[in-house]
Amino acid sequence: MIDRDQVLHVARLARLELTEDELERMAGELSTILEHVERMNELQLEGVEPTSHVVELENVLRTDEPRPSWPREKILEPSPDPDEGAFRVPSPQA
């Protein structure tokens, strides 16, 4: 139902490198799960509103008051490669 090429495409969307073994296994496992999920197709759902959130809430507001944000050092502290007060990453061009 979902083949190796589709798995590779989705892995790319998900920014996830897979090994050749994982690609094969994932294709089989995802197909089994999706087959089960597709039991939903037997339901008549036309005109049914989708639910994205279960508690009825509307426009949760707060007063717009300035407050201190996190100190830069504290946020950079757990970073794998902090540099000159910023997060350093490999080149997005290279």
């Binding site: 490198e17 090994t19 496992e29 999706l34 039991r39 939903m40 949760v60 970073s79």
Partner: protein, 496 residues
């Protein structure tokens, strides 16, 4: 000392208040007990003699175990994942802060399925947790460490999180009380996000009173989580001893007709229905016709939300970062399908190294369900099924005050029994998934012991009780009355 560990937290707090027990003595009794943690329940433990919070307040310095999904300032928080190994958050989750404010002290951070994805705790990046009733069996998941710690006398009580059953199912398999409050009852701020429209924090305890004490300390609106609303009127400590005048519905789809339900579980559940009648409650069958599709809807919605939430693990701001290349053995990046840039290649390799197999599976499933051309067929459809499931509950609650089901279709299964079959593992959540889809609260209490299908040791069975939204006080009252009548006093084997 051993006697101290047998007390419920509520009993110990009474002794502390009466001056018969010091809070440090109580804390250290547990801090020493967890030094040898043969169940693998903990990922971090406080040192004996290390008080780490206020002693005043209603929780009087009592120790508490906290699932490693909650951020704790300065204390490693991994969410069970190698991608967060060594991560020390700059802040503490609101639920934990509220407990500390009420006087509780963190005893340890408990093991869990990676990012709360799993029903057996075998998906932890740091090794499995063992069930104190039989170390060859799983404790359930994803809050498996919290449940095993409470059952195995390695914590008086604990907190966990429940997305599709992650508090109630392990509570059932370990013979303790576990409660998932209404969505919005407790702040999710500082809880590592899995599926944000479903995740909810809750207590795992030795008895119903302890669950009420913890819920009371944690619930409430939090400006840092705009979906939190708290419980109107607060939480009353339970006191009810009968069920007169209350109507209990038994959804056929989640009891007798539940997929894969074991004979022993059906038998214990049948006894519970008799007991409800003995206490004066009315019992009748009811229907939740769409709950049959709960697993299908859940395993689209939860992975879809997870695939977005877990995008933040990119090797930039915190956690693991993979080196330049070659670390992912047999990876496709270098050969078959090289990434377009060095940055994207770093993302792909970091996530390949840091995530375990189940997390990868869910990210893939969720990304597929949200991808162009499939969105409506999977995600849109699942959201509509969610509406139908919520409507089914609303209809049932017109006739009934509470609904009762077995918590899990089976007792604790053997380590490895479902590890190779993702779908079989997902079916462990069959009876617990519909409630979070509808946002409703539910509690699991120990109902008795039975042998698994095919024979084996006597293992705990949980009874699940669900109520309409924000009716936690009533739910706790009913659970308390049943707990008294059940008189569950069996203990896990002590020869670990």
């Amino acid at each position: 000392m051993t006697e101290l560990l047998e007390l419920t937290a509520g009993q110990a707090l009474e002794r502390i208040r009466a001056g018969e027990l010091s809070s440090d003595e109580y804390f250290d009794a547990y801090a020493e007990a967890v030094v040898s943690d043969e169940l693998g329940a903990y990922l971090w433990r406080a040192e004996p003699g290390s008080a780490n919070g206020a002693e005043g307040g209603p929780l009087s310095g009592a120790p508490i175990a906290v699932k490693d999904l909650f951020c704790t300032e300065g204390i490693q928080t991994t969410a069970g994942s190698r991608i967060l190994e060594g991560y020390r958050p700059p802040y503490t989750a609101t639920a934990v802060r509220r407990l500390a404010k009420a006087g509780a002290r963190v005893l340890g951070k408990t093991n869990m399925d990676e990012f709360a994805m799993g029903s057996s705790n075998e998906n932890s990046g740091y090794g499995p947790v063992r069930n104190p009733w039989d170390p060859g069996r799983v404790p359930g998941g994803s809050s498996g460490g919290s449940a095993a710690a409470v059952a195995g006398r390695l914590a008086p009580w604990a907190i966990g999180t429940d997305t599709g059953g992650s508090i109630r199912q392990p509570a059932s398999l370990c013979g303790v009380v576990g409660m998932k409050p209404t969505y919005g009852a407790i702040s999710r701020y500082g809880m590592v996000a899995f599926a944000s429209s479903l995740d909810q924090c809750g207590p795992l305890t030795r008895d119903v009173t302890d669950a009420a004490i913890l819920l009371r300390a944690m619930e409430g609106r939090d400006p840092c989580d705009s979906t939190s609303v708290g419980i109107d009127g607060g939480v009353e400590l339970p006191s009810r001893t009968d069920l007169k005048g209350l109507r209990f519905g038994v959804p056929r789809e989640l009891s007798a007709d539940a997929e894969g339900i074991e004979a022993g579980v059906t038998e214990v559940f049948g006894r519970m229905l008799g007991l409800i009648g003995d206490l004066g409650g009315e019992v009748d069958e009811c229907e939740l016709p769409h709950s049959r599709h709960g697993i299908s809807a859940y395993y689209v919605l939860a992975p879809a939300e997870a695939s977005a939430n877990l995008a933040r693990y990119d090797g930039v701001r915190y956690g693991l970062r993979a080196g330049p290349s070659g670390e992912v053995e047999g990876g496709l990046g270098d050969g078959v399908a090289p990434a377009e840039t060095a940055l994207v290649s770093m993302y792909e390799r970091t996530r390949a190294l840091g995530f375990g197999p189940e997390v990868k599976r869910r990210i893939m499933l969720g990304t597929y369900a949200l991808s162009s051309g499939y969105y409506e067929a999977y995600y849109g459809r699942a959201q509509r099924v969610r509406t139908k499931i919520a409507e089914d509950f609303a209809t049932a609650f017109e006739r009934f005050d509470y609904l009762v089901t077995p918590t899990s279709p089976t007792v604790a299964f053997k380590l490895g029994a479902r590890a190779e079959n993702p779908l079989a593992m997902y079916m462990s959540d069959y009876c617990t998934v519909p409630m979070p889809l509808a946002g409703l609260p539910a509690i699991s209490i120990p109902a008795g012991l039975t042998a698994p299908d095919g024979g084996g040791p006597q293992l705990p069975v949980g009874l699940q009780i669900a109520s309409p939204a924000f009716m936690e006080s009533g739910l706790l009252d009913v659970a308390y009355a049943l707990e008294g009548a059940i008189g569950f006093d069996a203990k896990p084997r002590g020869d670990m």
